[in-house]
Amino acid sequence: MSETTPTEPQQLATEARDRVRFEEEALELADQVYRVARRLVGSREEAEDLMQETYARAFRSWQSYTPGTNLRAWLLRILTNLNIDRGRRKQRAPEMQPLEEGDYFLYNKIEESSREPISEQDAVVERLSQDDVVTALSAVPHDFRDVLVLVDIGDFTYRDAAQILDIPIGTVMSRLHRGRRILKGELADKAVE
């Protein structure tokens, strides 16, 4: 039986080439990964630390990535796990206080607060500042914010978000729904202040 195993130098060369390619692809995605990371944590410094830890780990364990699968999701999975491991989730899951006003709380509240009915929806949104949104988002509890940031800012599908966070897809949907409601509740407070 003649087995044609590659010689060791060949193997090493192939491995080095694959690794370089992996590293380059991962670095190309860094801007997109950072945009999500920045909103998962409270400060730029934390986001930068988290990015460096993520990339250090990714480069170390690159062989566990399956080529052809979603590399951005793979990187975000490392990042969200590190974020949890580092104990940044000091905030507990919130009590389930109902937002009885429903999902259109923000819209209704802003509309009520204005003298004339708002005909253009953009006018409602334009009353909010960037700071309002960033502050409101940071007030959303972590479990909900993680999903919200992955889907609404990272543009991940429900399925990707479920894999990244290792939770069922139904949980993604319910947390997303609830996270958006909380966000809108926070924004409503700011919009009518």
């Binding site: 670095l27 860094a30 930068e48 709380f105 819209y107 988002l137």
Partner: protein, 78 residues
């Protein structure tokens, strides 16, 4: 105003996955048919959509070039 009246409960259920492009073709057609008929939901849908675009825009923060260099420096030396 004490209580909000929501005339379109069904739309609530469908709106989120519709906006997230997570409905199948039949569900999407159903959602679109409802939106075509219901001015109230159409208005709310547009509001929701514009809010999401706004949130995404204002939350986008670019990475510092120095960080990019630091990440590149983490690569395995050849």
């Amino acid at each position: 105003m004490s209580a909000y009246f929501d005339p379109c409960e069904k739309c609530e259920e469908v709106m989120q996955p519709y906006l997230d492009r997570a409905l199948d073709d039949a569900e999407r057609a159903q959602a679109e048919a409802h939106l075509a008929d219901c001015g109230y939901c159409r208005k709310r849908y547009r509001f929701e959509e514009s809010l999401r675009v706004f949130v995404r825009q204002v939350c986008a923060e670019e990475m510092a070039p120095e960080l990019k260099q630091k990440l590149a420096a983490l690569r395995t030396p050849l």
